[in-house]
C-alpha cells in the first residue's frame, strides 16, 4: 500500500496500531470459513472518532473497508477479496453500562458475548442470543451476522435483542439510531443493520435488550435409535404448542466425536439425541417435562435423562457447544452449513443430505437447532486435498439447493458472506436481489463497505 496513505493512517490511529507488512496481511487473510483474501492494511482503532476518520479517509481514497470482530464467522465475512483496509474492533471491548431498570446494556463493538453474559449474570440478567461461539464472538459480530443460538428458539435471534446502534456510515458520519426502548418510530434502521454483514456501516456501539434470568431451568437429554424418530419428535413437541427454550439435535458422529474430545457423558450408541431445555417459573416445569417426555417416548425415544443439577446441565451444554469444534478432530478443516427447512420437512432434508454426502464420499455429522428447522451439516475435509475440497464445494451447493427445494433458506444464522453468494440466486429472483442492491446503494453508494459479499458477484458493479 502507498506509503503516504499508511502515514495518514498512522497519524489517525498511532503507528503501533497500523499493520501492513506481508506477515500482518497474512494473519488477517482468513477467518473461520474456507475463504481467503488479503487486505492491504489492518488498523486497530481505539475510539469512535478514529473509526470515523478512518472511514472518511477510505471514502476519499476509495479503499474498501472491512469491519472485523473475532473473525469466527463461517462464511468469509471478514475476508478482503478486493483488498482494502481491515478495521479490527478488538481493542474496543468495554461494557459501558448495564442498566437493569431500563433492561439494557450499552457496549462497545468488541465485547465478547460471554463477557457480557458473565457481567449480566451477576445482576440476575442475561442476553438471549447465545451462539455456540459465545465465548469468543463479539457483540458487533453477532449483530452484523444476526447470530442465533440454541435459546433463540424461544427468545429470537440477535435482531430481536438490539434496540439501538451507533455507527459510522459510508459518508464518514456518526449515526445514532434506535434507542433504549424497543419501540421507536419510523423505519426500523436498527433492524436492517442486523445481518448487514458489515456492508452498511461500521457499528461503534450497541444498545442491547437484557432480560431477567428465568426462575428455573430444566434440561434433558433424549436418545433415539433412529434419526427420523428424533426429527418427528421435534415437530410433535412444537405442534403441541410447547416452545422449549432450546430444542437441539446431534447425530451419532457428532455425539461420538464430542465424547472423545470432551469426555462428556453422551450415549455413544444413540443415532441421535435431542437436548431439550425449558425455563420459566419453577412450578410450571415439572408438568412440561412430563409432557415432553411422553411425546418423546411416543416417538420412540430409547432414553430420557434429566440433568440432576447445575453441574450436569453445564456438562450437557459443554457437549452441545463443543460439538462443532470437536468435529475438527476428524479432519483439519470443516465447513458447516446452516440452511433451514420447515420443521416437518426435517426428516426428508436429513435423508437427502445423507445421500448427497454418501455419493460424494464426504464425511459429515449433523447438528440441528431443530426447533427452528435450522440444519447444521458439518462437512470435514483436508483443504490440502484439492479433489476432496472440490467435492465439498459441490456438496455444499447441493445441500443448499435441497434446503431451498424443501421450502427453506440457504442460511439461518451464519450469514451469506462469500461462501453463499452464488446460492443467493437459488432463493431470490433478480428483482428481489435488485431491491437489496438498492438498499445497499442507499447506505453505501460507492460500494466501499465490505465489497464482494452477499450479492452474487459479477453483477454487483455494473448494477450500482
Amino acid at each position: 500500500m502507498d506509503k503516504k496513505l499508511i502515514k495518514k493512517l498512522q497519524r489517525i490511529c498511532g503507528r503501533e496500531n497500523v499493520f501492513s507488512r506481508s506477515l500482518d496481511l497474512l494473519l488477517y487473510s482468513y477467518d473461520a470459513s474456507m475463504e481467503k483474501g488479503s487486505a492491504d492494511v489492518v488498523v486497530l482503532p481505539q475510539t469512535v472518532s478514529q473509526i470515523q476518520e478512518l472511514v472518511r479517509l477510505a471514502v476519499a481514497e476509495r479503499i474498501p473497508v472491512i469491519a472485523r470482530g473475532s473473525a469466527t464467522n463461517l462464511s468469509g465475512g471478514t475476508i478482503a477479496p478486493q483488498g482494502g483496509m481491515v478495521i479490527a474492533c478488538t481493542r474496543m471491548n468495554r461494557i459501558l453500562e448495564i442498566n437493569t431498570e431500563d433492561q439494557i446494556a450499552l457496549v462497545e463493538p468488541g465485547v465478547f458475548n460471554l463477557d457480557l453474559q458473565k457481567a449480566l449474570a451477576e445482576k440476575g440478567y442475561f442476553f438471549a442470543p447465545d451462539p455456540a461461539s459465545q465465548k469468543v464472538s463479539t457483540l458487533a459480530g453477532n449483530a452484523a451476522m444476526n447470530a442465533g443460538g440454541p435459546h433463540c428458539l424461544k427468545y429470537g435471534v440477535t435482531v430481536n435483542h438490539v434496540t439501538g446502534l451507533d455507527f459510522i456510515g459510508a459518508d464518514g458520519e456518526l449515526y445514532s439510531i434506535g434507542g433504549r426502548t424497543a419501540l421507536t418510530p419510523g423505519y426500523d434502521l436498527t433492524g436492517i443493520m442486523n445481518g448487514s454483514e458489515g456492508t452498511f456501516a461500521i457499528i461503534t456501539r450497541l444498545v442491547l435488550r437484557i432480560m431477567p434470568l428465568p426462575e428455573a431451568v430444566s434440561t434433558m437429554l433424549v436418545s433415539f435409535a433412529d434419526i427420523d424418530s428424533a426429527a418427528n419428535a421435534v415437530s410433535a413437541i412444537i405442534a403441541r404448542g410447547i416452545i422449549p427454550a432450546t430444542l437441539e439435535f446431534m447425530d451419532n458422529l457428532c455425539i461420538r466425536t464430542v465424547v472423545q474430545s470432551l469426555q462428556v457423558d453422551y450415549p455413544v450408541d444413540a443415532a441421535a439425541v435431542l437436548i431439550i431445555e425449558i425455563d420459566g417459573p419453577e412450578l410450571s416445569l415439572a408438568s412440561q417435562n412430563q409432557e415432553i417426555t411422553a411425546i418423546c417416548r411416543q416417538h420412540g425415544a430409547s432414553d430420557v435423562r434429566l440433568a440432576k443439577d447445575e453441574a450436569e446441565r453445564t456438562a450437557l451444554w459443554a457437549g452441545r457447544r463443543g460439538a462443532l469444534g470437536a468435529m475438527t478432530r476428524l479432519k483439519p478443516s470443516l465447513v458447516v452449513f446452516d440452511g433451514t427447512v420447515p420443521r416437518n420437512r426435517l426428516p426428508e432434508a436429513l435423508r437427502t443430505i445423507h445421500t448427497i454426502c454418501h455419493e460424494l464420499n464426504i464425511q459429515y455429522g449433523t447438528l440441528l437447532h431443530a426447533g427452528d428447522g435450522n440444519i447444521h451439516p458439518i462437512l470435514v475435509y483436508d483443504e490440502r486435498d484439492a479433489d476432496e475440497t472440490a467435492r465439498i464445494r459441490t456438496g455444499c451447493e447441493q445441500i443448499m439447493k435441497t434446503c431451498v427445494d424443501l421450502g427453506g433458506t440457504i442460511t439461518g444464522e451464519h450469514g451469506v458472506g462469500m461462501e453463499k453468494m452464488a446460492a443467493m440466486t437459488l432463493l431470490f429472483s433478480p428483482r428481489d436481489l435488485e431491491a437489496m442492491r438498492k438498499l445497499k446503494h442507499v447506505f453505501d453508494p460507492e460500494n466501499i463497505l465490505n465489497p464482494g459479499k452477499i450479492f452474487p458477484q459479477l453483477r454487483v458493479d455494473f448494477c450500482l
Binding site: R21, S22, L23, D24, L26, L27, Y28, Y30, D31, A32, L44, S70, A71, T72, A88, T90, R91, N93, G110, F112, L114, D115, S133, K135, V136, S261, G322, L324, G325, A326, M327, T328, R329, P332, S333, L334, D382, R384
Partner: protein, 419 residues
C-alpha cells in the same frame, strides 16, 4: 519440519476459540498474538507462503508458552510444542544469540561455574555484571524487569540452596517413605528459602529426602528453542531419575515438574524412553504431594485467619491440569480464609522471560493480574513457581500493594506445628 509440528498446525481449524484465554491476545487484540495466528504463521512458513524473515520473530517469541489456549482448543493443539519447534528453526536459521548460547551450552551445564560467578557478583560492585544480570533475566530467576547490576546485588543469596541444605541432615523422626528432591535452578540460586521450606515439610511429614545432584530441567533452553540443549539436559537428568529408588520424585517448581514429565519427548532412544515412562509417573509436584499428605499435617489454629488468594502457575494449570490440589491445601489450613482470584489461571507475564521488542506486553499482562489481586483483597498471594513469585513480588513492590507474595509451601510451613 522433522517432527509432527506441521500436522499440529494443520489441524488448527481457525475457529478462533483460543482468543478469550490467550493473555497476549487479551492485552493486544492482535491476530499475531494468539494461538490461531501463530499456527497459521508456522503453517504458512512451512508451505512457503510467507517469506522467512525476521518479521516473524515477535509472533514466535512473544508467545508465553502458557498453553492457556489449550483449554478451548478442540483439536487440542499444544501451542508450546509448536512454538518451541518454530523457535528452534528460527535460531537455526538466524543464529542463537551469544549470551543464550553461553548460558545453555556452558553455564547451565557447569553449575559450579555459575555458582562461583554468582558468588563473585554478590560482594563486588563492578561493571561487567550487566551481562550476568541479563543472563539471569533470561533464566527468569529474577523477573524480567530486574535490569541493573545494583538490583541484582541486593537479590543474590549468599548461599545457594544446595549449600544451605548440605548443612543439615534431612532425616525424619519416623519414616513413612523416601522422596527424591529435584532442585530447580530458580529455587537453588534465587530462592533457597523456598527450597528449605520444602525440605522441612518433607521431613516433618515423615519422608527421608535424597537431594538429587541434577542439572537445570531444560525448560529455559526449550523456551528459547534450543532443543539441542534440551536433549542434553534431559539425557543427564534422566540418568539420575532412573537411578533413584525413591517412592516419589518431588519438585517445588511447577515448571520443572511439568517439564520433567515430558522428558520422553526428548529421548531419541526408544528403549530408554520406555524405561523412563514409569519413572516419569513418579514425578509429583509439591502442591499435589501437600494435598495427598494433608492428613499428616498438624496445623496451627491460633489467629484471626488471613485472607489468602492463589495464582495458578501456567505449568500447573495448563500443562499438568492441576488446579484442585493447591486450593484443597489452603482450604484445609485453619488460619487461612481462602478467596478465589479472578482469572487465577491466567499467566502473570513472567513466563521465564523473553527478549522481545514489545516487552511491554509482559507489563500489561502483569497489570491485569495485579488488578485482579486488588479485587481479591487478600493479605497473601500464594503460588508455586519461582518465576511467578519473582514477577508478582516485583509488581506488588512497584505498586506498594499490602500483599505478601509467597510459595504455597512457605504458607503451609508457617502454619505447621513443629513440635
Amino acid at each position: 519440519m522433522l517432527d509432527n509440528t506441521y500436522d499440529k498446525v494443520i489441524s488448527c481449524s481457525k475457529c478462533g476459540f483460543c482468543q478469550p484465554t490467550c493473555p497476549t491476545y487479551l492485552v493486544s487484540g492482535l491476530e499475531h498474538e494468539v494461538a490461531r495466528g501463530r499456527h497459521q504463521l508456522v503453517r504458512a512458513q512451512a508451505e512457503g507462503r510467507v517469506a522467512m524473515n525476521k518479521d516473524i520473530k515477535d509472533t514466535l517469541f512473544q508467545c508465553l508458552m502458557c498453553n492457556a489456549c489449550y483449554s478451548n482448543c478442540f483439536p487440542r493443539i499444544k501451542t508450546d510444542e509448536v512454538i518451541a519447534r518454530a523457535r528452534y528453526d528460527y535460531i537455526t536459521r538466524y543464529g542463537q544469540p551469544q549470551l543464550q548460547r553461553y548460558i545453555f551450552h556452558y553455564l547451565l551445564r557447569h553449575p559450579e561455574v555459575l555458582s562461583r560467578l554468582l558468588k563473585l557478583a554478590a560482594p563486588v560492585k563492578n561493571s561487567g555484571l550487566s551481562g550476568l544480570a541479563q543472563a539471569l533475566r533470561i533464566l527468569g530467576w529474577f523477573g524480567k524487569n530486574l535490569a541493573t547490576a545494583e538490583q541484582l546485588l541486593e537479590k543474590i543469596p549468599r548461599k545457594s540452596l544446595r549449600e544451605l541444605a548440605a548443612m543439615r541432615n534431612w532425616q525424619p523422626r519416623k519414616t513413612r517413605g523416601k522422596v527424591a528432591y529435584f532442585v530447580g535452578c530458580g529455587i537453588n540460586f534465587a530462592q533457597p528459602e523456598v527450597g528449605l521450606a520444602t525440605l522441612e515439610l518433607l521431613t516433618l511429614r515423615g519422608f527421608a529426602v535424597e537431594i538429587l545432584p541434577n542439572f537445570c530441567c531444560g525448560l529455559p533452553a526449550y523456551a528459547y528453542g534450543d532443543l539441542d540443549s534440551v536433549r542434553w539436559f534431559a539425557q543427564q537428568n534422566s540418568e539420575l531419575l532412573l537411578a533413584t529408588d525413591a517412592d516419589y520424585i518431588i519438585t517445588d517448581c511447577g515448571s520443572c515438574t511439568s517439564f520433567l514429565k515430558e522428558y520422553h519427548r526428548f529421548c531419541d532412544d526408544p528403549v530408554q524412553s520406555e524405561r523412563l515412562q514409569p519413572i516419569l509417573n513418579k514425578i509429583v509436584d509439591l502442591t499435589h504431594w501437600l494435598a495427598d499428605t494433608m492428613d499428616w499435617a498438624n496445623y496451627k489454629d491460633d489467629r484471626q485467619p488471613y485472607r489468602v488468594t492463589w495464582h495458578d502457575p501456567c505449568h500447573l494449570a495448563h500443562h499438568l491440569h492441576e488446579k484442585a490440589s493447591s486450593r484443597a491445601v489452603m482450604r484445609n489450613i485453619p488460619n487461612v480464609s481462602y478467596t478465589e482470584l479472578p482469572e487465577a489461571d491466567m499467566c502473570c507475564g513472567g513466563a521465564g522471560s523473553y527478549n522481545i521488542a514489545h516487552s511491554d506486553i509482559s507489563k500489561k499482562i502483569l497489570a491485569r493480574k495485579l488488578t485482579n489481586v486488588v479485587s481479591a483483597n487478600a493479605d497473601i498471594l500464594a503460588t508455586a513457581c519461582p518465576a511467578c513469585i519473582m514477577q508478582l513480588a516485583w509488581g506488588v513492590r512497584q505498586n506498594g500493594m499490602p500483599v505478601r507474595v509467597m510459595h504455597l509451601n512457605q504458607l503451609v510451613l508457617e502454619n505447621t506445628v513443629r513440635d
